[in-house]
Structures are given as structure tokens and as C-alpha cells.
Symmetry: D2
């Protein structure tokens, strides 16, 4: 048996840190060496993540063990940059950052970690900036069109579960308020639009970047639903073929020829895509679990790539389905 | 004390019939004379609508009492037309039809029952075609713009509760499937687009009718959320004033200067509207309870108008809030 | 037209205060004179209770207007006692307190406000202590047995919606945590057991007070479900008659001869009861809306009684049903 | 690499069949040879179980391949017996039946498949009767007491998700009805009480079998919560030790020294137990996923035992958590 790689997590008490722990605990080729948390140091992981009772005796650590191969930064936006500025990380350690701090790639050596867009670059990367949750689902719905130079102004509806808002207590995450409720936020101004435009314009330089996103707070914990539409001359068959060809060989993104629904992907690392043609419009539905393909699952997928492992290792997850 | 008007309901076993019963049982000026249902004749109303236990001893009737002032048709689409073809209704009886059978007004004497659009015509009407649920919320979000001749291509997201699908048992209304799930249906092709376009083009004849609607099945029972956006040169203040002026004097539709959320209107007959300006786009959020302002509540509002009663009689409803 | 009574609310920013506002705004015989809130003084009511937009222009007040007939105390437990100690209330004003501070009636002149237990005493009362939410539903399920001297050890399951926990942000009211989740709290030790035992032993002095309650946090906002069982020799018919006779003349509590479900009472002031006999056990299901019959609705019912109004005035509420 | 065992599934279109498929597709030592379904023969699995898109190209089969090591019967109650009477199964094939047909073990050679009760007997068994979902959670909460001879009359509340009712469309599984609703069924008469009593009396012959169960329909898809209580003289420490000792060496059942909540086990094969002592009562909370530890997960656990595999193989599942 091959020796296992070692991984550490910085910021293990939040949602994305918890999901990274869950995935790494069961990973066949990687050992979870430590989980760093200042506020929880000394407590067993299951004191914070109750579902881990019976899974591991590991406790949160106040120290960072430099004897690891990969480090996941599961910190708030802005915190990753601060952490790396104040904490020297040995050059041999791969870093996978889940914040938005390095996604735009300005003056940093972080590769944008969307494997369906630039898998080969990720394989050679030392540092990976993991994409945003909305950004992942929206881009996966548009990449084949951008590559074919077919993007025009896009209109997108995006519905997200409450886990997207993190674990802080706010009026909009109060159960009594959110149950059976709908609201929107950052309409047409969501911060993920920047990283989306950058990718799409890299593929299709003439694309204006016109992308209108209506983000909706959904009445459920997990999952992102995106419906995008735009003018497009492709026939349904041509569109289906364009997408199927593009994602051929990508193990987590699949094009469905039936109607899809969000729970097909919840608690998995998959993205499913469905296409419809209505008059001169192409409609693209793309769905994912915001905490997995939209965050920690994709981070592990990126880890697999940078470590030279099978892309799907540790990510063959049982769907919740119901 | 004035003598009460009398009302009858045809098709009282479904959702909209049930809501009409609930409203009429508490109406100060109208008495519920009978509720017709072929399949439930003889059963007490509370055998079908369990929440009515203790409210009324009335039973479903197999007969239609012609001694009423107003008749509500709470039948499936296509059934209202058949009913009226096979059942002679005396000329003195007002008819309020909740199906889509007479909404387009071709060769029929039904007035389109959207009070914020044509209240005076409703007041004089004998027969009223009650608008569709999506159609009501979308139109209320766009009427002021249409009247001002400012409509351009509109992009709308519409999210509806499960009651919109009626009480028939289908895979998409199974609790196990729908809980925590999201899906879309009739994307860009929803049948309500016809009645919406007819109204908007009547107000703004030059409007092309370009209206793109993404209907979403929400994970909750009641309420419709609409977010529409379009190019618009108005400043935020001008837009707010346009809407506030338009709805001045309309007791159920209000413009909010704060962020709105769906539960503000659930179990009421209200529609709330919120505006946002982002660059050159005007964003309009409009919300309602699909069974009340979107169906039976608006039907009672129309009844109040045709009978010359206060428009709000019987419709001062306590919100569920939570 | 008769002159309206005037009511004031102390503590109007919370859940029970909000429900009291909603009920009083539509009450036919009572005018809401002021809503006191220190932290929100000057803000319109709808800034806190968004569903009131379009219902009232009233703002929160920093002052207490002594020119009222009745005062509702919608304060936290312990706060009502402090308020009354520090704030002299003129003797002519009726006080209805929703906290638990005066329910046990020790050394105070507060009458326990459970109309189905002591309506006549309430009618003559100056001050009323409104029962707890669990206490109301459990007592209504047991009163007829206690009056008949038939109580033995009782085993109760009680499931409550999230509104029972108030609007403070806690880990157990976080949407992400509570959605699709179940947990228990204060098992066999809930603080309402005291007031329940006091009432039941007043009716049946030989009753030991043995009452085991398993309180469950439910995955929904509103409503309390109670299932109690005990040894009982009555036949099903005898039990039904005992309950129907007891609640005869009480407008809000009804015995169902069909299976009940919680949503029959949500957003109403009703309590429904269903009985089952299994071998030598009598099973009693009793349900209510915790914020209405379990709090503010019953408070208004008590106000109606102390003011000599119809017991149901302002409480003919449309059920949410769905 | 060792040759994999082969498994087949009879009745793969329902919930438990689907869960068995999901588990076996990822099982390291077992290959899913076929999934039999008369009505779906020829369709790909993902046409019925949409989440399997991208996981497998396997289709439902009309034939039963006898070249398997183990057969799962995922059929309705009564159907398993009929199937085995009409279909000769070669003697070398292990059968694991998920229905209730053979659980009481009368005149059949099926071993009751509760590993925490009789793991050694299961290891030697040819045929296993998989326990009921409520039966599993309730027994795991009581086994240590029964073994110690400490059982007295037990009072249990059991709350189950909607998946417990299967995928048939019924009024009580309609989303609009069940959302935010609570109801009970088979109070004190649930059919699982028989198999529970049989086990408990085998361990503690003097136990009367007095067990009162209030089954509740919960407002969520997955998971069972049980709270049981009884008179018990043990101290909290003694009780904790009794349970921890009993479950020592059992990989899926753990005793928590913190408050538990249902989502700790959803989408896993675990059962968590928490104990509380209140006066002379011992309170036992026990939780599981009704489709996994309460059905298909336990079936795979039993398969592992009969095939001599690691008990946890294929069952290291990522919790949904949220």
C-alpha cells in the first residue's frame, strides 16, 4: 500500500471546513493530519461537528503542522490573505484557498480551480483559488458556449440554500423568518460576477460580459439552482452535442436529457446540466451542492489534481436523494 | 342592519373553492348560501376542509340555488366553459370565474378582474374573469411602467408555492420529492403570458410583448415571488413616485421602501412591491399569496366591486407572518 | 355605533406583541391606542413587523398612554413583574400579562386566564395571567377528565414550532440547523408543568400530579401538537360525550370525530381535540397555534371577557390551512 | 486484488431499493450484478433514480441472474413471501429481506438482522430478516437495559420522516398537506411493537412487554427520532457505562455525552444514543436514518456479516449535516 498524503485544514469550525473534514476522513489516499481552529483548540471535532461522533477522535489543534502536503484554507473572505501574510507556509505545501481572496489572480500565483475549465493548469499548480459557489454553477452552465464563441447577453436566476450564508446568526438565517419564505439579495450586483466574466472572456474575448444574475434565498439548506437563458441559433441537438462533447471526460459534470431537479446533486460533488430550446432562446439549467461542487468538494477535487491522484478519489458520495 | 347578499360556490372541494369558503364565512355583508360539489354532496364542509370544524355546520350541496346574487366558479381550466354551456344561470346572478377560460375576453362578456387595472369596468360588470396567479403578481409589478409607456423587454423570475399546483397527487407534489427541492417548469412558455401581454399592450400599444418568465417550483406551500427587470431611464425616486402614484387609492397594493420578503403577504390579499435601480436597469419585486390576491381573495375583491360593497370588505386578514 | 374600547401594548416588538397588534388592528370593538417599545420608539410598526405595511401608519411609542381600558404585557419572563413594580398603572386599567410571572397566583390578584377552565372568574377579573402555550394545549386535553375525577398518571408528547423559542438568534433557531431536524428539550422538566398541575389538582384534588412531558422542537414555525395518554375505563362513546359536554358553549375548543392534523388550527384561536381508545388507554390529541390560542389570541379572548364583549370578537380568523 | 462478491436486488424502483443500489455501487468488495424490476425493465437506473445519472449505465433487468452471492428483497410487506414461494432461489445465495414477512421467525430459517443484538448468529446465517425502521431505533435504545434485566413499562415517542411512508402518492404524503404539519398514526398499535417485544423478552424473559409508542409523522423526509423513558434506579454514570459497554465494538451505534439532534445521523448508517436521568426516570434518546440504519444500510451491514467482510465496508458515509 502506498503511503498516504497528509492534509491540514485552517479554519475547521465553519461549514466549508466541516465539509472538508468529512471528505478527508474518508479519503482513500489522504490522511487528515490536523484541523486548526483558534477558538476550538483542544475540543474534539465532534464537539463542533456533531455528526462526526463515532467517526474520529481527532481534536482541533492550535498549531500548524508543517509536515503536510496540502493545506486547505477555509477562512472568511479577506482572512485568507491576512493568514498568508502573517504565516509563512513552506514552499513544498500545496495551498487550496476557499475564499475569494485570490480568485481574480491579480499579482498572485494562484490558479483558478475550476477543473472543467483548466484542469491541466491545476495539475501543475502549487496554489489553487477555489471558485465561488454561484460562480461554479453559472460557469459550468456557460463554458461550452463561451468556448464556441456563442455567448451573448445572459439572464440568470440563481437560488441558493441557507448554508450559502454560513453559520453566523442573522435575521435572514433565523428559522422562523426563513422557513416558507423567499427573498433576493445583491440583485444584478453579486460579487461572483467578476470571476465568471474573467473566465468567460478568456474563452470568448469578444463577449461583452453582459450577465444579469438574480440571486434568491431559498427555503432549504443545501444546493444551488441556476437557470440561464440567452439568444442562440443552435438547434436542441446541436446544443446538447456541444455540451456533451465539452464535458466528455469530466467525471462530475453531466448533461441530462431529462428534466432535472436540485436533489439529484445534493450531498454529491456533481453538477448536472439540462438544456431547453424555446424559440430563439437557449435555456440552460445547472445545479450543484453549494458546499461540495460549490466549495469543499471541488477543493478536494483540486487537491486530487495537484497531488496527481485520481480526480474522483474520496468523492464517490452517496446522494441524499430525499 | 342591511340585508346580506347571497353567494354560491361551484367546485368547493379544491384549494381555491376552500379559500373562497373561508373568506365568505367571515364576510360582513355576504352570506354563503351553498357550496356545490358533485362528489361531496351531503358531507359537511369540514369533512373536506378540516380547518372549518367549529366554523360552520354547512354541508356540500348537489343543487344550485338560483336565489343568489353572485356565483363563484372554482373549477379546473376548461371546466368553467363546459359548466356554463350546460347550466343555464339566471341573468341577475353575477359570475366570477377563477379559471382561465374567459380571461382573454374573446367573444365573451367577461371583464378581466384586475382591480388595479380596470376597477371601474369591474364595478359595472356582470361577469368577471379572475386573473391567473402569476399574471396578477407580474402585472402589478409592471402596470405603472406600461401606463407610462416605459415597458421594454422584461426578464422575470417567478417562484410559486406548491398550492399553485392544486391538490391532485403528482410526483412533483409528493412531499418526499418536493421538500428541499427546486425545479422549473414551462420556462419561457407559461400560459399566463398571454393575459399579461394583452393587458400591458392595452396600456402601451407599442410594447412588443417581450416578456421572459422563468417559473420555479418553490419548496413551500403558499406565495408567489416575482423579480422582473428591464432597461429604464427613471431615477430611483422617479420610479418610486410612478408606482406610489399609480397605486394610490388601491387598498391592497403597496410600494415598500424597504427590502421585502414573501411572508409579508402570505395569507393576506395584499401585493407588495419593491423597486431597485442598478445601473440602467430597474428591478421590480412583486409578491402575493397565490391563493388570495392570486385567486380567491381577488375574486372576493371583485365580488365587492360588482356588488357595490367596500372593496376591502371581508379581506382584512391576519397575516401568518411566520 | 358604540364607542370603542382602547388598548395599549407593552413590548410590541416581539412575536406575541406582534400578534396582539395584528389582532387588535382588526378588532371591531377595540382601538389600538399605542404600542410601547423602548428600542423602537418612533419607528413605524411595519419597520419591525413588515407584514403590517399598508395596514397601519401607527408608530412605536416611548410613552404609556394612561387613557386606555386594557394593557397587554408582552414581555419576557420576569420582565412583567419588574415592569409593574416600577410603573404605576392606574386602577381602572385591565392588565393582561402574557409572561409566566403571575400564573401561579401566589400573593397576586391575577386570575388564570384559561376561559375553558374559569370563564366566569375571568369576566370579573381586573388582572389576568395568560396561560403558557404548552400549558393551554395540555390542559384543554385533560380538563374534562380532571373535572370527572378520572385523571391518573399522564404521558404526553408535545411538539412545538420554532416561534415558541422567540425571535432571539440561537443555534437552535438557526435555519440551517433546524430545517429537517428534530430535538428535545427540558424532557420531563418543562416549566409549564407547574401551572398545569395547579389547575388539574384544583379540579381533582386527589390527582397526584403525575404528568410526564416530552417537549420536542419541531421543524416548522407555528403550532403545538400534544398527544397524551392514560389508563381510563371510559368507552370511546363515553369519552367523546364527556369532552363534547365539557366544551359545549366554548366557542374555540372543539372535539373532532375524525383524525386531526396540526394545520387545522394554525393561524386561528382554536383548539381541536381528538380521542382514541386503545385497550385500556385513552389517547387525547389536542392542538393549537402556540402564538394565538397559546398566547396572544387567548389574551384577546380574555380581553373580550373582562370588557364584557363577545368572546369571539376579533378572533374569527382565516386559517392558513396549507 | 480479491475477486468481488456479486449482489442482486429485487424491487429496485422503490426507496429502499434505491438506497441499496446507491450503497452497492460504491461498495469496495461487492459488485451490483443486476437490479430487477418488472415495470422498469430496460430503463436505465437513473431514469427512476435521477441522482444516479453519471454514476452508472446499468439498466433495470427483467431477469434474475442466479450467479450472485447475495440477493436483497426490497419488496412491499407480503410481497417477499409471495416472491420466494413462486421463485426458486438456489441454495448458495444469501437472502436479505427488507420486508416484515420473516421478522418474527416463525417456521422460517431467517435470522433477525439486528447486529447489535445477535451479530454472531447473523454471521452464520443464510437468510436474514432486516428489522423495521422504528424497531431498530427503539431496540437500540433499550437493548442494554433488557440485557441487564432492567426493563419496566416503557413510554416512547417516535417521529419519522416522510420517506417512511414510501413513494406512493397519498393525501398524507402530499407536500401541501405535510409541509409544516404534524399528525400521528397507529398510536399504541404500531406493527413494529411485535418484533421489538420478541427481542426484548428474549433478553429479559420476565419483561411484560409493556411498551407504549406514539408514532408521529414529521415534517421532513429522512430520519427517526425516538425518546423513551421508564423507571430506573441507575445513576446517570451507571446508565452511561451500561450503554457504552454494551455498544463497545459495535461500529455504528454510539453513546453521546452531549445533546443530540436528528441531523447528526441523516444519510449515515449510524445510531446515536443520549441518556438523561430525571428523578427516578431514565430517558433514552435514540436516532437513525430510517432508510439506512433503519433499512438498506443495515441490510448492507448484514450482507457484510454474512459474506465475512468488514462490518463497515461500503458504509463510511458522508453525513448530510445540514
Amino acid at each position: 500500500m502506498q503511503k498516504k498524503f497528509k492534509a491540514g485544514i485552517i479554519g475547521g469550525a465553519g461549514y466549508t471546513g466541516g465539509e472538508a473534514i468529512r471528505l478527508l476522513l474518508h479519503h482513500p489516499d489522504v490522511e487528515l493530519a490536523f484541523v486548526h481552529s483558534r477558538s476550538n483548540a483542544g475540543n474534539p471535532l465532534h464537539a463542533v461537528h456533531g455528526d462526526l461522533l463515532g467517526e474520529t477522535a481527532l481534536a482541533f489543534s492550535a498549531n500548524i503542522d508543517e509536515n503536510v502536503d496540502v493545506l486547505f484554507l477555509c477562512l472568511g473572505h479577506g482572512e485568507s490573505r491576512k493568514f498568508l501574510e502573517s504565516t509563512p507556509i513552506p514552499a513544498h505545501i500545496h495551498i487550496i484557498d476557499l475564499s475569494q481572496d485570490f480568485r481574480l489572480g491579480e499579482n498572485v500565483d494562484f490558479v483558478y480551480g475550476l477543473p472543467e475549465y483548466n484542469r491541466e493548469a491545476i495539475r501543475k499548480a502549487k496554489h489553487v483559488a477555489n471558485p465561488g459557489c454561484f460562480a461554479t454553477a453559472i460557469q459550468l452552465g456557460l463554458l461550452p458556449l463561451a468556448k464556441a464563441g456563442l455567448l451573448k447577453e445572459v439572464h440568470s436566476t440563481g437560488i441558493t440554500g441557507s448554508t450559502g450564508a454560513g453559520q453566523s446568526l442573522q435575521s435572514t438565517t433565523h428559522f422562523t423568518w426563513r422557513a416558507n419564505n423567499i427573498s433576493t439579495y445583491k440583485v444584478l450586483t453579486h460579487q461572483h460576477l467578476k470571476e465568471i466574466r474573467r473566465t468567460l472572456q478568456a474563452l470568448q474575448p469578444a463577449y461583452s460580459g453582459a450577465l444579469n444574475l438574480v440571486p434568491v434565498r431559498g427555503d432549504y439548506p443545501r444546493g444551488i439552482w441556476i437557470t440561464s437563458y440567452l439568444e442562440c441559433a443552435l438547434t436542441p441537438e446541436e446544443a446538447y452535442k456541444l455540451y456533451a462533447d465539452y464535458y466528455n471526460g469530466h467525471p462530475f459534470t453531466h448533461v441530462s436529457d431529462r428534466q432535472i431537479d436540485l436533489k439529484q446533486v445534493v450531498n454529491t460533488n456533481k453538477c448536472l446540466i439540462q438544456l431547453e430550446k424555446v424559440d430563439d432562446r437557449l435555456v440552460i439549467h445547472s445545479i450543484e451542492d453549494n458546499l461540495l461542487k460549490g466549495a469543499s468538494g471541488q477543493a478536494v477535487q483540486n487537491m486530487n489534481l495537484v497531488l496527481g491522484l485520481d480526480e474522483t478519489a474520496g468523492l464517490k458520495l452517496k446522494s441524499i436523494v430525499f
